[in-house]
């Protein structure tokens, strides 16, 4: 593009911000400002009393407490468990979603119905329904537990590895239930591929396996990133997540309170940002490798 005159720039800024303005105001009021306040609280001792909220600034005392007290320790442990969980679940969910999306993109009888059913978990997995299912133990496959598979996992892996792996098997159904949006995102990307590309590849002698890696996967690449971000966030902000329960429980607890709870939330936030950063870095490495070949 050539260099634009100043006036054009001003106009662009004006148009851009007017489209964004309502969202930006809402975001500042109900997201950004509360975030800043909560950071301030994380550096304070917050007491809720009849007359209002009493805030004593105590610097990093809350953070120090997280790394030294029992409540903080069990929180850190749940963050560690969550990181392991992510490590296993994100690839499983992504691969599963890609496979299902590719299948649902084939021409076949009842395709509309199948697509609807695979998207159905979206209304189950993020609602209170799933909490009820999990709390009643209906979200695990009884077969998995009874077949002794869990015992086998416990005996073959070290303790820190066995727990997340066992979790994955007992939560297999839940994994299927949380991939609705990811499947949708991949189907949307698949539909942008022109079918004649496959036909041309086939004429040139490419098998389905080669077509998948050379045509399908490159088209899905940007959506893999989206799906991974969405999966991590979806799992991380899931209301039954252990770390979130810690934030919730400490909020009105007498000995810790909202200041401590805010500090916990901020540490969780930083941990998630790190996890996402690592995931993005891994994706970039992986795709670079592909190009070189």
């Amino acid at each position: 593009m050539t260099k634009k005159p100043m006036k054009r720039n001003l106009r662009n800024n004006l148009v851009g911000w007017s489209f964004l303005s309502i969202w930006a105001i809402g975001f500042i009021l109900f997201m950004a400002y509360p975030l800043i306040l909560s950071f301030y609280y994380s550096l304070s001792k917050v007491t809720l009393s009849g007359e209002g909220i009493i805030v004593d600034f105590i610097w990093f005392e809350n953070y120090r407490q997280i790394f030294s007290s029992a409540a903080g320790f069990s929180f850190l442990q749940s963050v560690r468990d969550f990181a392991f969980e992510i490590l296993f679940k994100v690839p499983i969910i992504t691969v599963f979603a890609i496979i299902i999306a590719v299948l649902l993109n084939q021409k076949m009888k009842l395709r509309g119905l199948f697509r609807a059913v695979y998207f159905l978990p979206v209304i189950i997995a993020s609602g209170p329904v799933i909490n009820q299912l999990i709390s009643q133990g209906a979200a695990t496959i009884p077969l998995v537990e009874e077949s002794g598979l869990i015992d086998l996992i416990n005996s073959t892996f070290t303790e820190s590895l066995a727990k997340p792996i066992a979790n994955i098997f007992s939560e297999l159904i839940v994994i299927l239930w949380v991939s609705g949006v990811q499947i949708l995102v991949f189907i949307a990307a698949l539909q942008k591929i022109d079918r004649s590309t496959y036909e041309a590849a086939m004429i040139d002698g490419a098998g389905p396996w080669e077509s998948f890696w050379k045509i399908t996967m490159p088209a899905l690449k940007s959506m893999v990133t989206v799906s991974i971000i969405f999966t991590i966030i979806n799992l991380a902000t899931f209301s039954e997540n252990d770390a979130i329960l810690h934030i919730k429980n400490n909020m009105f607890a007498l000995d810790t309170g909202f200041g401590f709870s805010s500090a916990v939330a901020w540490i969780y936030f930083i941990a998630l940002a790190l996890i996402l950063g690592v995931a993005m870095f891994a994706i970039r490495l992986f795709t670079k490798d592909k190009v070189r070949r």
């Binding site: 489209f19 975001f27 109900f30």
Partner: protein
């Protein structure tokens, strides 16, 4: 199979069955069973007599269906002062307002962040992605303070406002707008369309799947949320249906409450299902029409 693809590019279901489709159906059908399990469970659970509710491991199918849970639920309903229809009406209004406003706001913002050039765009994108990771529950108290300062306590709109600037919605919308080819927008700009026309005539129709997804997702959040009622509203007349359902089941004794909770969650769940059925055809109704390959 390939022979028909030219004619059926925009249809979801091909009209003819072909043996080559069997391999896809063989893989997809068993997983469909898993996907439908939660639905089966919710419906059956609500009709279970007391002793069946406590089976361990839980069963999916009810053996002796009964309406007792529902009659008990409505008996409790009868004794409290405010009619149930009032809460229901409140929830309907709140949900409709949130859906309309949040779709408008997040699509406008998504268009701006994806296709318009203006100062601060990159920063806003980063900020939104980062705030995705912050757990909503951690800002409960700061949000309360802001709502209080704005004088919105016991104001009906406090049910609506916090849901208008939701980072996840914008994130998904933006990904879909990114998929729209720039050539399409440039072409219409050459033809004399202004930004608003591009937004309404090109962007909105092309991201229907994303809009439908956002509608389904935010319907659930808003419809099922009792948080705003508990935190910001003291006046019983302004509280929502979800809050009402929660209090009903929370106030009775634990054993009988289980059955009522099951019935209540079925009643709460049905609107989710209806919205899903209405919207899902649009979700899956492809981006295939986008014009440029």
């Amino acid at each position: 199979m390939k022979k028909h693809s030219k004619f059926q590019g925009t249809k979801i279901n091909p009209s003819r069955f072909h043996p080559s489709q069997i391999r896809y159906l063989v893989i997809l059908t068993p997983v469909v069973m898993f996907m439908l399990l939660p639905l089966l469970y919710i419906f059956n659970h609500a009709f279970k007599p007391l002793e069946e509710l406590f089976y361990y491991p839980p069963r999916f199918i009810v053996e002796r269906p009964t309406l007792a849970n529902f009659t008990r639920l409505f008996q409790v309903t009868g004794t409290s002062g405010i009619p149930m229809s009032r809460y229901f009406f409140n929830s309907v209004i709140v949900t409709v307002l949130v859906l309309v406003a949040s779709v408008l706001i997040s699509t406008m913002a998504g268009y701006a962040l994806s296709k318009l050039n203006f100062k601060g765009k990159k920063a806003m994108n980063e900020i939104n992605t980062l705030s995705l990771m912050f757990v909503g529950i951690a800002v409960t108290i700061p949000r309360y303070l802001i709502v209080e300062q704005l004088g919105l306590i016991d104001n009906f709109f406090v049910h609506v406002l916090p849901y208008l600037a939701v980072p996840v919605g914008l994130f998904l919308i933006k990904q879909f707008v990114d998929q729209i080819p720039n050539e399409l927008i440039d072409a219409s700009r050459v033809d004399g369309a202004n930004e608003w026309q591009i937004y309404t005539k090109i962007i909105l129709p092309l991201i229907k799947p994303a809009i439908a997804t956002i509608v389904i997702l935010s319907f659930q959040t808003v419809w099922n949320s009792a948080d705003t009622s508990t935190t910001y509203i003291n006046n019983d007349l302004l509280k929502t249906f979800a809050f009402y359902m929660n209090t009903l089941t929370a106030n009775t004794n634990a054993v009988a409450g289980q059955g009522m909770a099951a019935a209540a969650s079925l009643i709460m769940f049905l609107p989710n299902l209806i919205i899903f059925i209405v919207m899902q055809s649009k979700v899956m109704d492809t981006m295939a029409h986008s014009g440029i390959k």
